[in-house]
């Protein structure tokens, strides 16, 4: 009997309680892409894209893309103002991508992102990217692909993801950059979006130092950058390199490769007189995907291509390292290695001053393991 009484007590409690924390899906507006810009007066402009399927008789029809703007002193305030402009409760929990305007990225981005880290409902797995110019331009632009099938959020997200797949940009989201952002011994890089007339293209990576963006690396160099991070072992990414000048026919001078395997060895040494040197060695196994001269028959020939490729790639890698040192961005984490393995040295250093001056080199070793179905 006691249990019956208990159960009835419990169930009556259920009836008494309201539904305090309900958030009905059909009574919310979902932000799928959010953009942040600093205005000239120091205020923050928040741009949000809220797509919605237009219901037709036979189910969901085309997407209607609504874009809202709001300006506030902080990121949160601008969100609250945004909420007032939209008919229903605005939720950012299904956000796909956060776009930072270049100006905003060059200031402290943590100030903007704090709202994402603090909110228990926010989408930490949203991607994050830097846009050339204003973020609001990217989000409110009418791109070809966004008009009918998907919202701008999904479009940008897919673009960045396909760029990640071909290793043009490192794969990051709001949460994964966070530990690195806090780390004194490492920096990160984000995809760099350039809006064009009908579409947006992921042109390269925006390199950060601490909380601030310090520069960009473009195009093919972006691929090299990702290879140097060594994060992924199995990449499916392509490079086209000029290996000789001998041929009159311009196309004959090039070779395209696909990297099948990329192994990174990263060494940081401290000499007894506290001079720091770092060396990144990449061992790549590649497949040749385009080589119009078609004479890959002998071991010697392949070997010469390997050597030519290794040489050019080493040059590229060193160029990137130099560039990073100039921008004072420790994207590959030399400092982290120092903290972990040379902690006494690290404690004596001012890393921000020391980093541009260290001896930082790279070498690439290419090995051809395949050449498609013809030789």
């Amino acid at each position: 009997m006691r249990s019956v009484r208990l159960i009835s007590l419990f169930s009556s409690l259920l009836l008494l309680t309201g539904c305090w924390d309900q958030a009905q899906l059909n009574e919310t507006k979902l932000i799928r892409a959010a953009g942040f810009d600093y205005l000239k007066n120091g205020k923050i402009r928040n741009t949000a894209s809220i797509p919605q399927y237009l219901n037709t008789e036979s189910g969901a029809g085309p997407v209607n893309n609504q874009v809202f703007h709001a300006i506030g002193n902080t990121a949160r305030q601008s969100r609250i103002k945004l909420d007032r402009k939209v008919s229903e409760q605005v939720e950012a929990s299904k956000n796909l991508i956060v776009v930072l305007g270049e100006d905003a990225a060059k200031k402290d981005i943590y100030h903007i992102l704090d709202v994402f880290y603090r909110d228990p409902k926010s989408a930490l797995n949203a991607r994050i990217a830097v846009a050339k110019g204003k973020a609001s331009d990217v989000i409110s632009a009418k791109f070809k692909e966004t008009e009918t099938t998907m919202g701008i959020g999904q479009y940008l997200n897919e673009s960045v993801r396909s760029a990640e797949k071909s290793s043009i940009v490192p794969s990051e989201n709001i949460q994964t950059i966070c530990p690195v952002m806090f780390d004194p011994g490492q920096d990160f890089a984000l995809p760099y979006l350039v809006p064009e007339k009908n579409d947006v293209s992921v042109k390269g990576v925006a390199v950060f130092h601490g909380y601030k963006m310090v520069g960009t690396i473009f195009g093919a160099q972006g691929v090299m950058f990702t290879l140097l991070t060594g994060k992924e072992r199995h990449l499916s990414m392509s490079l086209t390199k000029k290996i000789t000048n001998k041929h009159k026919d311009r196309i004959m001078n090039f070779v395209s490769i696909k990297v099948k395997q990329n192994k990174r060895t990263f060494k940081v040494d401290v000499t007894p007189d506290e001079r720091i040197s770092a060396h990144i060695k990449l061992d790549m196994k590649v497949v040749i995907t385009e080589y119009p001269r078609d004479n890959l028959t002998t071991q010697k020939k392949i070997h010469s291509i390997e050597q030519a490729l290794s040489k050019t790639l080493t040059k590229d890698a060193n160029a990137i390292l130099k560039e990073l040192q100039d921008m004072n961005s420790d994207a590959f984490g030399v400092g982290r290695k120092l903290i972990a393995f040379h902690n006494p040295t690290w404690k004596k250093l001012d890393w921000n001053k020391e980093y541009p001056n260290i001896n930082y080199t790279a070498s690439v070793n290419v090995k051809v393991i395949g050449h498609g179905i013809i030789e």
Partner: protein
């Protein structure tokens, strides 16, 4: 009413007890005083009472019910008069003619009634206990009184009111026996005996209900079933004190461990093969008068999810479908709750690719999801209930009208989202995959509290609901054996025929939760391999 042959053993055993019970057997509103005086009288004066007085007394004890017939026959041999008395409504007249009247007239002079019993008819019995007259008449015996009033004769002449043995509609299988129990206890026992041709199969008769005299037969394997469990079941059945015990449900409810539980604690089935298999595992079967339902006890949760079909499939398929059935348990109780929790609390867990589609289907629904779900679930229950009551031909029409037309119209009208229709339909289907009707009903009812909990507390509500449910299952017993065995308490050896079904060659021990006396099962089906 139906009739069955009552073995002599029971009658003798019950002799003393029946005297008291017989007092109530008269259907009239006669006072107790009168009846009791009758039986006392009968016992006392039978020696020198004339037939006429005796017959009158009998008539009186039946309140002059008009279907009580007395028939006088003159014996051709010695011209003595013999009285046949029977309840007209429950005897077979043809049998009466064949078994009594015809032989009577063929009697030679030197054979009298007393030798007749031994020589010609096996159903012909000499009786001397006059207290049993009522009971015998009610069990469709015809009684013969001669001028020798110290004894009388009884002939079993039941009218056949049984239907044919058919496959039970609610427990059909694809492969395997298509026999099902019918409303006759003796036929049902015969169906079981046909499968277990073993001298160790014991039948024990019990009687409950002061007025209804419902007979219960307890079947078990004497070398397997645990005596403690047997005693417990017998004790509980014997302790039932009620005027009427009409349905197996009455007995079931009187003997189960916890009445305040949704979960059935005995397995009812109409399949002889299922009963036979469970008897061999050491369970006890309870058969009832005029009921095709047989109850099996003690049971655990997983017994409800086994079907004879599993054993006729290849073992991997059997295991797969059993897993599907167990999964359906979770779907049936949890899917609507999970859906409600997601759309009204935690839509963050919906994957990005799906969220806009889901949102668009929900966009213009005016009601909260709980209400939506309740309406649809209740509609389904309505359709189900209506379909049971209606004849089969109209039933399928109702299913189509209810299922398709209402479902489609309700979405088109924008009252219910199409996702909710999918959820409710899946849930309904999942609830029907349970092979046992009782469990299926329990599961269907369970999802309502889960839905309410999910609508008030989201995932947390579901989790607390599940905790309470599983704890309840952990504390539930069926005749002293834990209900959730072999999961709680955990017995890895017993999992082989509960969650999955291993090949027969692995099944060489019986489930230990029912504590069989003989744990090992002789099961060497593939001995040829070793030679």
């Amino acid at each position: 009413m139906t009739f069955f042959k009552k073995p002599k053993k029971l009658l003798e055993q019950k002799k003393t007890a029946n005297e008291a019970e017989n007092q109530g057997s008269s259907p009239s509103s006669q006072s107790n005083l009168e009846t009791s005086s009758y039986s006392e009288q009968a016992a006392k004066v039978n020696q020198n009472q004339s037939i006429d007085v005796l017959l009158k007394d009998i008539e009186k004890s039946f309140s002059s019910s008009e279907d009580l017939m007395t028939h006088w026959v003159e014996m051709p041999a010695d011209k003595s008069k013999v009285a046949l008395i029977f309840l007209d409504s429950i005897i077979d007249k043809q049998k009466l003619q064949d078994l009594i009247l015809n032989p009577l007239f063929e009697l030679d002079k030197d054979i009298d009634l007393h030798t007749f019993e031994t020589v010609i008819n096996i159903d012909f019995k000499k009786q001397s206990d006059f207290a049993k007259i009522q009971e015998l008449l009610l069990q469709s015996y015809t009684l013969i009184f001669t001028k020798d009033t110290t004894c009388y004769f009884s002939v079993f002449t039941p009218v056949k009111t049984e239907r044919d043995i058919k496959e039970p509609d609610n427990e059909a299988v694809i492969r395997g026996s298509h026999e099902g129990f019918i409303e006759s206890m003796s036929t049902n026992i015969a169906l079981i005996r046909k499968r277990l041709k073993s001298p160790k199969l014991v039948v024990k008769y019990l009687q409950v209900g002061k007025e209804t005299h419902t007979n219960v037969a307890m079947l078990y394997m004497s070398d397997i079933a645990n005596p403690d469990v047997l005693h417990e079941i017998e004790r509980r059945i014997n302790s039932i004190e009620a005027d009427s015990v009409m349905t197996p449900g009455n007995i079931e409810e009187s003997i189960e461990d916890k009445t305040f539980s949704l979960f059935p604690q005995t397995l009812s089935t109409e399949r002889p093969d299922r009963v036979a298999a469970n008897l061999m595992e050491g369970r006890v079967a309870l058969l009832y008068d005029s009921s095709p339902t047989v109850n099996l006890a003690p049971v655990n949760f997983f017994v409800f999810y086994q079907t004879p079909d599993d054993y006729n499939k290849r073992w991997m398929l059997g295991s797969f479908y059993r897993l599907i059935r167990l999964l359906s348990f979770y779907i049936a109780i949890g899917l609507p709750a999970f859906y409600i929790a997601i759309v009204s609390f935690h839509f963050e867990v919906i994957p990005s690719a799906l969220i806009l589609l889901m949102k668009s289907s929900l966009e213009n629904i005016p009601y909260p999801p709980l209400f939506e779900a309740l309406v649809m679930e209740l509609t389904i229950e309505l359709i189900r209930e209506a379909a049971i009551r209606l004849p089969t031909r109209i039933g399928s029409t109702i299913a189509i009208v209810g299922g398709l037309v209402i479902g489609d119209a309700v979405v088109k009208a924008g009252l219910i989202s199409n996702l909710m229709i999918i959820v409710v339909a899946t849930t309904a289907i999942a609830a029907y995959t349970v092979p046992s009707n009782e469990m299926s009903l329990a599961v269907r009812l369970l999802r309502f509290p889960f839905m309410v909990a999910a609508a008030t507390f989201g995932f947390l509500g579901i989790v607390f609901g599940l905790i309470l449910m599983f704890f309840h299952l952990c504390r539930l017993y069926s005749f002293g054996t834990p209900y959730l065995a072999p999961l709680a308490p955990f017995k890895i050896g017993d999992l082989k025929d509960t969650i999955i079904r291993l090949p027969f060659l692995k099944m060489n021990s019986r489930p230990s939760d029912i504590k069989p006396i003989k744990k090992d099962e002789d099961n060497h089906t593939r001995k040829w391999e070793k030679s």
